[in-house]
Amino acid sequence: MGAIGLPSGSAIGARSAPLPGQHQAARALARQRLSVLLLLFVAVPPVLALRLGELALFDAAPAAATPATATTGERADIVDRNGVELARTFSAYAISVEPRRLASEPRALARRIAAILTDRSEDEIYAELTHRGSFRYIARRVLPAEAKRINDLGEPAIRLGREAERLYPNFSLGAHLIGYADNEGHGAYGVEKAFDARLTDPARRNDPLRLAVDVRVQQALDSELRAIVADQQAEGAAGVVLDVNSGEVVAMVSLPDFNPNAPGKDGQPAFNKASYGRYELGSTFKALTIASGLESGVIKSMQQRYDATRPMPMAGFVIHDDHPQNSWLTVPEVFIHSSNIGTARIALEVGRERQRAMLEAIGFMKPVEIELPELRNPQLPPLSNWGDLATMTISYGHGITVTPLHLASAYATLVNGGIYRPLTLLRRDGPPPAGRRVFSEKTSAEMRQLLRLTVTAGTGRKADAAGYRVGGKTGTAEKNENGRYVRGANVSTFAAAFPMDAPRYVVVTMIDNPRGSKATYGFRTAGMVIAPVVGRLVTRIGPLLGVTPDPARDLDTASLMPTPAAVVE
């Protein structure tokens, strides 16, 4: 700015005294600058006006940002097939402390907080208050009333915050299926883990995830299994209810379970027996063997007889029958008396290759096709060790371990007309997927008759819920833990479907190591322990699933048994 003229009076100024030409130039420059400034003054107001207009016209909504009014949480809700909530996010109070800023005496404060929060001990709270960190949680998921009382203590270091918490209103019901999300809001187990990306997708946060589960059926299965586990002092139980035509999982229970609202509190790692537990499921496999016999043409007539007169020695191993008939048995007799010998003979005729092909086709060579993350491969003998003996033991469910979900899927394929469809946890509203044919329609129809016959005249009579035309197969096997048999412990299974004249649902229930009780006269076999559970369960869930009982209707099984059978339990 020094260039703009200073009065030229001083001696120093003489050196820089403006010459006439310089004066002219300085004035011109000043004028130029002034005009630029003027232009700026003229130009700025329109800019401001434009911005004001834009604010007034387009951003008229008050900036009361969505955080204050937002009501949805971090994750989308999960609902059952009828829209009943299974998991929701709600904002709960979390009480935290900044130990360094603590004003009052920690011991006294801990005592007063412990008096309000009854589920935390005084010592735990004291440890948090005196922690060396800068931020500690004292409690999360605190009730509003308790939060208010803690606020009234007036301690400045204690902070009350609202945090999005996951709530499972039904507590342990369906815990293994729904799973839980961890404190950071990531799915850690079950559906919460499987659909984590979908549940946290901001665009679909207000759109609940609709499962195929019917919570009423889930509750019925849960309470029936819980009752039998308590009665039998068993180690646990698993159960699955499947829609045979769509492959939807309508209920899935695994006991013991946990409370997903406080996962990991009981110290037991969560273990889904239905989808992750592998068991030898025993005689329930006989249905698959006979179906492959029918399918391959090895069984030409139901009246074809098999020698079950005496135990069958094979490669240093003797195959016995649990209910020995000591005679030549027709195919229906083999099935309803659950003859290991007869089934083994059928399997020998079917042969290893066709047995393997059948197991492959119904998905027993890989984990079940379903969205759950907790899945497991079945255990099969290696090909080098899969001789005649393995073929025979596998035919009646020994030497092969699968999950109960595998078995349910196989039974659905068996009774729905022979079509394999992948299972799903989500509700399918459209037509079911095309699937892949494994058994012919005729084989499926014959298997339905055999399964029904087992319940009317065989080992599964206690499952016969009046009017629901239940069909199924019992299975009792020695418990196999990590490849070793546990002496004196068994696994009792019942795989059922109803109504057998037009099957709609498959029910697979399994009880792990029942001990026998007064109600079962000390028996631990599937026919005595788990079959009655299925009978009661079907009576409960049939009406809920829209299956009307009709005592006047039944599947014709007379053609299978020309002579009335006398079955000894």
């Binding site: 009361a64 009014t69 009501t71 709530l167 919570v215 849960d222 009017g467």
Partner: protein, 174 residues
Amino acid sequence: MTTYAGAALMLFATLGTAIASYTVNLHVAGERAAVRQLRADLGAQTRQVLSLQAELRTRARLPEMQRWNDNVFKMAAPSATQFLRSPVQLASFVAPAAPPPVQYAVATAPADAAPEVASVVVRTGYAPPPAATTAASPAPAQLVRASYERGAGTIADSVAADLASIAAPAAPAR
């Protein structure tokens, strides 16, 4: 002078505009604050509804219902015989136990008999009348005759008479 008047006019006009604008501005700000408050209220209310819903659902959870049913209500699933499959089956439930006796339509009542009117008072057992008086009083007619004819006295009259006949034997009991 005129220049001053012009300047003053401009001044007042500017002042007026400024005041008017400021008023509008205040008004708009007030409205916006109200909207903001309303939204905050809505948010709070929605949160409260959600938390109450959560509480309700949690209290009415199915395992709890099951516990109540096991301990208190003891309701069981319907059995197969409790389902109706046809209207005929429904009708069979209301069928009389014994076949009604054959009835003939015969005019046995005398033509000039007063129309009988059923008792309109229904006794609820507050005070059972003494046996003797009950025996004496005629049994209430089982037959109701509805008629629009006003022949032998109006219906109201006969109802009143009937009421009197019922009240009279009951009177001593009180």
